[in-house]
């Protein structure tokens, strides 16, 4: 199992090295298939690890493997960082999601990126991402976690800015990287606390000793949890560090599916679940997690209502769904959060890849107003998108319900916020998800779509279609892992050792599911009928004029950051550059230069070039010396 775990981690890295060294000596198709094969091989290793863990006793499922000492020194006072991975229920679930969904999406990319001049580079970056993400979820200590954390940010930067000939992707990539760096710094400072107070960053020792060195609710305990939360919030695009995610849609669609829906953006949830001991140690911060989750899920749901770019609708939906996961881990129902993370990985990747098929077919058009009526020409895509939409609204799998049930049962005051916010959010979800389907696949086909839609060779090549179909099947099947109602909770039981779980009662389950289905269904039905008549859409919009404007302005976060973050920083930089460098440093330089020059000129005056003057000075000097010594001799 140890070898398999290491293989699972390092196979993608080997792929990067091979692709980088091979360069253009291998064909584009060969490079794409190589990357895909490697991703699948990594998944096979991950699956093998999963089954061997399943075969072990419940209490012996956590393993730490160390390859070598990564950083440190002989001096034992220096922080020692082993290159170690921790394989347990939590990480193996993430390994399966990352390598499994990842492999499918890499395969999908073969068709999507076909013919791009930088196709080989794209696949190398995808494998780099898989390695980084696996490092993040498998790491056995916080420094390695941070390494993975930063490297997924790097891969994300490279892939968002993949089409770097244009301005927008480059700007979006830089924004994503810098905002994620803020999160990295948060985790780094949390690490400083650990090193100072515990002397190590290995998960097991930190979690065992956390209670002793940071008493529950003490300011240090709160700081550590809060700083980890900063990292989680930045990576998972939650308020207030969420503004990079919609912009990140500038990247190719498979990237949006893999990084910005299925895996990387949910890393924050994984982090909080992994560090549940530290968050349990800081109850106030944990409540803050729930509040942030609810606020984000509502805000993103509202913004998604008014978006017109198909990928941005799904991006805001992602933000909103991660809000649910944050809400779950915020009320200490970590396994429900992880279950939603799992189902979301399937159905959101499905939605993105389905949208990718549409975008691909429409010659890179992403505006939903220029689509419409596609269901007639793309029946299979439509069907698969419906599977994703039903999952998103929350009819099946019941992962969103599980979050709300847990909040109702054991969430306390924060639980009520989550419960009510979650139900309202479910209605929003029903509205925006159905609106997307209604606008893209039904109604009148737009002129643009008529001109550009070319489905002569089927809707998409099989390499694109197969992964989407598998994801759809997965989205349905994965629901059986945890149904609730006292029927089965395999997933929660499996994770119970590593992540806290809340078991709600059957009546609570029934009530919640009824309410959630009702909210989602009502929203879906309402919007379906609404779009029958364009005049009513306009009427609704004018009734909620203010709200729509705020939503279209994305609640003004970008402007806020521009004004309180970017502009002051630039002002400071300009001031330092013009005042500091030019006047103060430049002034000191000028002073040094002029002093030296003045002294030099004064000394140069003595060099008259007239020999007799020199001789006079010489004689005078000799005379003085003589007088001095004669005087001494007399005394």
């Amino acid at each position: 199992m140890e070898t398999l775990s290491w293989l699972c981690l390092f196979l993608p890295l080997a792929g990067v090295v091979v692709l980088a060294l091979a360069g253009n000596r291998i064909g584009r198709e060969a490079a794409s298939w190589l990357a895909t094969a490697i991703a699948f091989a990594s998944f096979v290793c991950g699956a093998a690890v999963f089954f061997s863990i399943l075969g072990e006793g419940e209490s012996a499922r956590s393993h730490v493997y160390t390859l070598y000492t990564w950083a440190g020194a002989h001096n034992t006072h220096v922080l020692h960082v082993p290159l170690s991975i921790q394989i347990d229920q939590l990480s193996v679930v993430e390994m399966l999601i990352v390598s499994g969904v990842g492999a499918l999406i890499v395969m999908y990319s073969i068709g999507y990126m076909h013919g791009d001049p930088k196709q080989r580079r794209f696949f190398a970056y995808m494998d780099l991402f898989l390695f980084s993400m696996l490092l993040l979820v498998m790491a056995g200590n916080f420094v390695l976690l941070l390494a993975g954390w930063g490297m997924v940010g790097l891969s994300s930067y490279l892939l968002i800015g993949f089409w770097h000939e244009q301005e927008a992707p480059v700007a979006a990539a830089k924004k994503a990287f810098v905002m994620n760096t803020i999160g990295d710094v948060g985790i780094a400072i949390a690490i400083f606390f650990m090193v100072r107070d515990i002397g190590t960053t290995n998960y097991q020792e930190v979690f065992t000793r956390a209670h002793d060195v940071w008493p529950k609710g003490s300011s240090d305990a709160n700081w550590v949890a809060l700083l980890l939360l900063v990292g989680a919030v930045a990576k998972s695009a939650q308020i207030p560090l969420h503004t990079w995610l919609p912009d990140a849609m500038e990247g190719p669609t498979p990237v949006s599916a893999l990084i910005h829906a299925a895996t990387m953006v949910t890393a924050g949830v994984y982090l909080i679940a992994r560090c549940h001991v530290l968050f349990a140690n800081a109850p106030n911060v944990r409540t803050l997690v729930a509040v942030i989750g609810v606020a984000t899920l509502l805000m993103a749901g509202v913004i998604a209502l008014v978006q017109t770019d198909i990928k941005r609708i799904i991006a805001y939906s992602t933000m909103s769904q991660i809000g649910y996961m944050f809400a779950a881990v915020g009320v200490a129902d970590d396994s429900a959060g992880m279950f939603h993370l799992l189902t979301h990985a399937f159905f959101k990747a499905l939605l993105f890849l389905g949208a990718g098929i549409v975008i691909h077919a429409l010659a890179n058009e992403q505006d939903v107003r220029r689509m419409g009526g596609l269901s007639k020409l793309m029946p299979r895509t439509t069907a698969l998108m419906w599977v994703g939409t039903i999952a998103l609204i929350g009819f099946w799998p019941l992962s969103k319900d599980a979050i709300l049930e847990g909040a109702l049962h054991g969430g306390g005051a924060a639980g009520w916020i989550v419960y009510v916010g979650g139900l309202v959010g479910a209605a929003f979800t029903g509205i925006y998800a159905t609106r997307l389907m209604r606008l893209v696949f039904y109604g009148e086909m737009s002129d643009y779509a008529k001109q550009h839609l070319h489905t002569g060779h089927g809707e998409a090549p099989w390499t694109m279609f197969l992964p989407v179909a598998v994801l759809a099947a997965g989205a349905v099947l994965v629901g059986f892992l945890s149904i609730g109602f006292g029927i089965t909770n395999f997933f929660g039981d499996f994770l119970a050792q590593t992540a806290p779980t809340i078991e709600a009662t059957v009546p609570q389950d029934i009530l919640t599911t009824a309410l959630a289905w009702g909210a989602g269904g009502a929203g879906a039905l309402y919007v379906w009928r609404l779009y029958d008549d364009p005049a009513r859409v306009a009427a609704v919009r004018s009734r909620f004029q203010t709200m729509a404007i705020i939503a279209e302005a994305k609640f003004g976060w970008d402007e806020l950051y521009y004004n309180i973050g970017y502009r002051p920083a630039v002002w400071l930089a300009v001031t330092f550059d013009s005042v500091g460098e030019r006047w103060i440093i430049g002034g000191s330089l000028w002073l040094a230069r002029t002093t030296v020059a003045t002294v030099a000129r004064a000394t140069a005056l003595a060099q008259s070039g007239i020999v007799r003057q020199y001789v006079t000075v010489l004689a005078g000097g000799a005379a003085l010396v003589a007088v001095f010594f004669l005087g001494k001799a007399n005394l």
Partner: protein
């Protein structure tokens, strides 16, 4: 071993500099010399006994009874820090010599001779255990640099050199006085003997620290730097930023603090405060620079100030912080290689476009896959992407700083965000979007002979990232 490392470049410097050699012979001899030096440095690293303290010692009396009854010794030795600084010097000068030969500098044999003289002096000062010997190395280094900067380079090179001379002399003359003072009081020039006496003298400490902090440079003593980095040839700038700045930090670690532990401890907040101010200040200024060299130059100032923070996280009695010093020394190696790579790469851009003004550049990544990858890697290491060796060393410095004062560590961490901002701007301005006005479809990708310098430097960084412990366990 150590003596061979000093004598080899020195002899070759004299041969190449003074013999009327043909250009090509001089180039071949110069290249052979730096490669042999690299091999020697590699042998030293391989044969180094981990945990064995100071090794490769040579100690002979050089000038008996100079002043105060103190003998000047030719005393050289290497511990881990010295060894990796020597290795960094060997790598830096080797890449500089190769770049100079490729660029075809005027009066090549003299140029190579001076580079080799610089190498000999740097190795001397990194290995010297005697104050006079160290000072000799320090001054010979300056002289070689003055000529390299003043004769070759940009239009305003004389002006830049003059500023550099003023700053350098101000520092090193005071240091000379302090060395004499130490010998009079302590009756020795030997580092070990003097350090064991543990003196407390604000003016001697100040003189040493000033010389080293000018060279590093510490904020606000960096006035000479922008002009010097902009006017020198790319390889000299690379050496200035990659290796010579490390001589300043090395001096602080090896001399200023151990000779005056109590004084250093007493004044540590001056250095910590200025270091923090310098880190944030230079990082912000780097964000506004209009040229590629300017960005990396100020980034270099920021990083050196971070190293100074790592050095001056001192415990009572002037004891270095374990994590801080490990990070600072490792960062000296990392930052050395990173700035060598960055400035040599800028040199390649200048060779193609004739400018390093960011507004005239752009689009280098289009259709030029090798350049795209190489520049990207350099930028990523420069911004300390997590997982890289640079990240590890910065993390250790910050851990040390946080242990001293949480706010210091937290504030210095902001440097990471700023580094991301200015390095991404740098990379995007060079590589991204459409072609800049000085770039077009005919601008060539990197050639094999150019990769011969860039790839080894990046490989070193990749290896260090995979196994930082390899250096960290030896350097401590």
């Amino acid at each position: 071993m150590t003596v061979a490392l000093i004598v080899l470049p020195l002899v070759c410097a004299v041969l190449i500099g003074f013999l009327p050699l043909d250009r090509r012979v001089a180039a071949a001899l110069g290249l052979a010399a730096v490669l042999a030096e690299l091999v020697l440095a590699a042998v030293a690293i391989v044969t180094f006994n981990v945990g064995g303290g100071t090794q490769f010692v040579t100690d002979r009396v050089w000038i008996p009874n100079l002043i105060g009854g103190a003998d000047v010794h030719f005393h050289v030795a290497m511990d881990g820090l010295s060894m990796f600084m020597v290795a960094l010097t060997a790598v830096g000068v080797a890449s500089a010599v190769w770049t100079a030969i490729r660029a075809g500098r005027d009066r090549l044999s003299l140029y190579l001779g001076l580079l080799l003289l610089l190498e000999a002096s740097l190795v001397t000062l990194f290995t010297a255990r005697d104050l006079v010997l160290f000072y000799t190395g320090w001054e010979v280094m300056m002289i070689a640099l003055f000529v390299l900067m003043g004769v070759w380079g940009g239009e305003r090179r004389r002006f830049a050199t003059l500023q550099f001379i003023i700053y350098s002399l101000a520092g090193s003359l005071l240091m000379l006085v302090a060395i004499a003072g130490l010998a009079v009081e302590g009756h020795s020039f030997d580092l070990g003997v003097l350090a064991a006496q543990g003196r407390d003298s604000w003016w001697m400490f100040g003189a040493f620290a000033l010389a080293f902090c000018i060279k590093a440079p510490m904020f606000p003593l960096h006035g000479w730097l922008p002009d010097a980095y902009r006017q020198s040839t790319p390889e000299v700038t690379a050496l200035l930023s990659g290796v010579i700045s490390k001589a300043g930090a090395y001096g602080l670690i090896r001399f200023a603090v151990p000779l005056f532990p109590a004084t250093a401890y007493h004044w540590r907040w001056l250095f910590l405060g200025l270091g923090l101010a310098g880190l944030l200040y230079a990082s912000l200024v780097a964000f506004r620079q209009p040229d590629a060299r300017g960005v990396v130059a100020y980034s270099s100032v920021g990083q050196m100030n971070l190293i100074i923070i790592g050095i001056f996280v001192l415990g009572p009695g002037g004891v270095f912080s374990d994590n801080g010093l490990t990070g600072a020394t490792f960062q000296m190696v990392n930052h050395g290689v990173v700035s060598l790579a960055a400035f040599l790469l800028i040199g390649l851009v200048e060779l193609r476009t004739g400018t390093d003004a960011l507004k005239s550049l752009g689009g280098l990544a289009n259709r030029r896959p090798v350049a795209s990858t190489v520049f990207l890697l350099a930028a990523l290491f420069a911004l300390a992407v997590p997982g890289s060796s640079v990240f590890i060393s910065e993390l250790y410095i910050l851990i040390g700083a946080f242990g001293e004062q949480p706010l210091l560590g937290a504030a210095a961490s902001l440097g990471i965000v700023l580094a991301a901002m200015y390095m991404l701007r740098w990379y995007s301005a060079i590589a991204h979007e459409g072609d800049g006005e000085r770039v077009d479809a005919t601008t060539p990708d990197l050639r094999l002979s150019e990769l011969a310098v860039a790839v080894p430097l990046l490989l070193i960084l990749l290896v260090l990232s995979a196994w930082p412990f390899g250096v960290m366990e030896r350097i401590g």
